[in-house]
């Protein structure tokens, strides 16, 4: 298991609802989240030591869009600041690592994305190999289709299993005010829907979403000073599989297995798992690779199938888990973020309450 030099806790978090279309700029979407977390801890903006954001210029449709996003985090007079062209969960990772140096106390983390103005299928096909995959537009939904078909062919899952993931996610989202989709769905009715990406149907895939999330993390002493109920980040790890899908066993996730081992996932109870299930078959792979059993509540928020603002959705999993722990729904859990097609990259973050 990874040793942690400095204990780090989440002291404040905020997210926007998952919007089908947010009709204003990305900074205008992020700014209220940032203001909220600063207000929660009662800090002066310029007393925050380090600021880091995750977003995607291809998604924003503008070169250097991430620079414009700095408007939202309050960067004048200048602040110590960085950016990852990744989901905000990876910004959290960098913030956590930065705190391990022990010379600073607080980090403001954010993640944001607007999928609605463009085509995420076209934009994210550019994440793939530029010689053999991107020129044929190999998009994430297609790769999710391959993964689903591989599960079926291996006898590890059926289309009914996928539909059950969808129905459970939508039902869980009924209590989540940030969810974009929710409700009671019948598995049989889901299975009667047409395919959009055989063997996947529309609700096996995420909705088009716009949204943002922000968080403040702090070293132990500062965390206790800033809030009464810090949620501790016990471990965090990020692993990747090949970007060539044909070289992978798509029915498994070796990178998740390694990361789960590194974060010591089963060194304690796993009460809650907030997983980046962007396509329904991914939940089946993740449950298996994480070694989850019936004692773990999986995606009580509803997860990305009920609201999926790319570049914020992974950080939102960490927030949903932190909120559940603060609410006393569990004492310890794991948040998972994913990047790249078909669970190619995976990040795990173990959180624990202050009890």
């Amino acid at each position: 298991m990874v040793s942690v030099a400095e204990d780090v806790a989440i002291v404040a978090f905020e997210q926007t609802p998952s919007h089908a279309h947010f009709n204003d700029s990305e900074p205008a979407m992020i700014m209220p989240c940032v203001n909220s977390v600063i207000e929660q801890v009662g800090m002066d903006r310029h007393d925050i030591d380090f600021t880091i954001a995750g977003s995607c210029d291809y998604l924003s449709g503008m070169p250097f869009a991430f620079v414009m996003n700095i408007d939202a985090v309050g960067a004048w007079p200048p602040v110590y600041e960085s950016h990852v062209e990744m989901d905000g969960a990876w910004a959290l990772f960098e913030g956590f690592v930065r705190l391990q140096s022990g010379d600073i106390d607080t980090v403001l983390v954010s993640g944001s994305g607007k999928c609605s103005p463009g085509s995420y299928r076209e934009g994210f096909s550019l994440q793939t190999d530029p010689y053999v995959h991107a020129p044929i537009g190999l998009d994430p939904r297609t790769q999710a289709g391959f993964q689903a078909q591989a599960l079926i062919a291996a006898g590890k899952a059926t289309e009914r299993d996928f539909a059950e993931v969808v129905a459970r996610s939508h039902a869980n989202a009924k209590d989540n005010p940030y969810a974009q989709l929710s409700g009671d769905l019948s598995v049989d009715e889901l299975l009667a829907e047409p395919y959009v990406q055989q063997p996947l149907r529309r609700l096996d895939c995420p909705p088009t979403s716009d949204g943002a999330a922000a968080m403040i993390i702090a070293r132990a002493d500062k965390a206790r000073e800033l809030c009464d109920n810090p949620v501790w980040i016990r471990a965090i790890d990020h692993r990747i599989d090949s970007h060539h899908p044909t070289l992978r066993d798509l029915t498994d996730s070796p990178s998740v297995r390694i990361a789960a081992d590194r974060v010591g996932l089963h060194d304690g109870p796993v009460d809650i798992a907030e997983l980046t299930v962007t396509y329904s078959p991914e939940e089946i792979i993740l449950r298996d690779a994480l070694g989850l059993n019936g004692e773990t509540s999986v995606n009580p928020s509803g997860g990305p199938l009920t609201g999926s603002p790319f570049m914020a959705v992974g950080l939102t999993r960490v927030i949903e888990l932190a909120r559940a722990i603060r609410n006393g729904d569990g004492g310890r859990g794991v948040a998972h973020a994913s990047s790249g097609p078909a669970l190619q990259q995976n990040l795990l973050c173990v959180l624990e309450g202050d009890g």
């Binding site: 279309h21 009709n23 204003d24 700029s25 085509s119 190999d129 053999v132 991107a134 990406q197 070289l247």
Partner: protein, 331 residues
């Protein structure tokens, strides 16, 4: 009368990449109607790779022809093709293990739109497009029974560069504050936003004050003067990059309109030379006739006061503002 419109544009980038010792011959082969795999120990990798995927050891170029027939080992049906896909009608994407290869290539299978024709284990065969550019998109696959015999004329030079024009289409309404700003220009007015915290006036407003981190709305909007002061200028000599439409040098300046705190940048001047421009010079907007104004160049990301709303900017003849007084606004 001119009207507002939704934002609809395609952001394009031409990417040019060198191909290297293994991908280069592979793409050359596709242009010439052959599919090549790379030997890796006892195996043949297709698509070829520059490294052993298990050990990551570098592989020397050692290519061997594979296919053109192969077997589908995984597939998914694309009911709604994207603009970037090889076909504009429904088709299958498949993992294809070409005859003679040990790994699979991801590619498109055209069954004439019939998903029932797809299955794991089906035989397919490569077909080459009439126009080939040394790209993986030069080839596609069909069920073996549907394949036609082709005679392919090889090209001359080896493929050492691959060009990939990417395009991201953006389509959305104008944000409310952008719509009000654009409507103002159509009405011959410049609309700014006054910060409720500092009182500073920004043109165009962004919907927020980034200094104080507060959102701003219609109630914070003010009409500002169309007379102002040049705070910066330069002569642009158009470099002929992809998408460039300008050919001749012209002047671009920033103008601080009276009563505002942020200059409007990117105002183009066609009827004055750079020698005639001065920081501190007072200028007035001469609007186009209302029916000739257009805000098509204004979207949610770009566009301040475009040439499509003004005829020219004209010196007022007032004394210059001392440059020292403008230092705060020199941008």
């Amino acid at each position: 009368m001119p009207q507002l419109h939704d934002v609809d544009y395609t952001l394009e980038y031409p990417y040019t990449r060198t191909t290297g010792p293994i991908i280069g011959p592979f793409l050359t082969g596709l242009r010439d109607g052959r599919i090549l795999g790379q030997r890796c120990g006892d195996r043949v990798l297709c698509p070829p790779m520059e490294f052993d995927p298990d050990t990551f050891a570098t592989l020397e170029s050692d290519l061997v022809e594979v296919g053109p027939g192969g077997e589908v080992v995984n597939w998914t049906w694309v009911a709604e093709p994207s603009a970037k896909h090889p076909f504009d009608r429904p088709f299958g994407f498949a993992f294809i293990k070409l005859d003679g290869a040990d790994t699979a290539l991801v590619h498109a299978v055209d069954t004439g739109g019939d998903p029932e024709a797809m299955s794991t284990g089906m035989r397919v065969r490569a077909q080459f497009r009439d126009e080939r550019h040394g790209s993986v998109a030069d080839v596609y696959f069909v069920p073996e029974a549907d394949a036609a015999d082709q005679v392919i004329e090889p090209g001359e030079e080896p493929v050492t560069i691959t060009e990939h024009l990417i395009g991201l289409r953006i389509n959305e309404p104008l944000y409310p504050h952008r719509a009000r700003f654009a409507q103002g220009l159509l009405d011959g007015k410049i609309i700014g936003q006054r910060s409720p915290v500092t009182g500073k006036v920004y043109v165009p407003g962004r919907g927020y004050d980034n200094m104080s981190r507060v959102l701003m709305s219609e109630s914070d909007e003010v009409e500002v003067s169309d007379v102002g002061t040049v705070v910066a200028f330069t002569e642009l000599n158009p470099v002929q990059y992809y998408g460039q439409t300008e050919t001749e040098p012209y002047v671009r300046c920033s103008i601080l309109f009276d009563g505002t705190d942020q200059p409007v940048i990117g105002i183009d001047i066609r009827d004055m030379t750079v020698d005639e421009m001065r920081v501190g010079m007072r200028m007035r907007c001469i609007w186009r006739d209302p029916e000739e104004r257009s805000v098509e160049d204004i979207d949610n990301r770009y566009g301040n006061i475009p040439e499509t709303v003004y005829a020219r900017f004209e010196p007022t003849g007032e004394p210059d503002i001392p440059a020292d007084e403008l230092k705060e606004h020199s941008w």
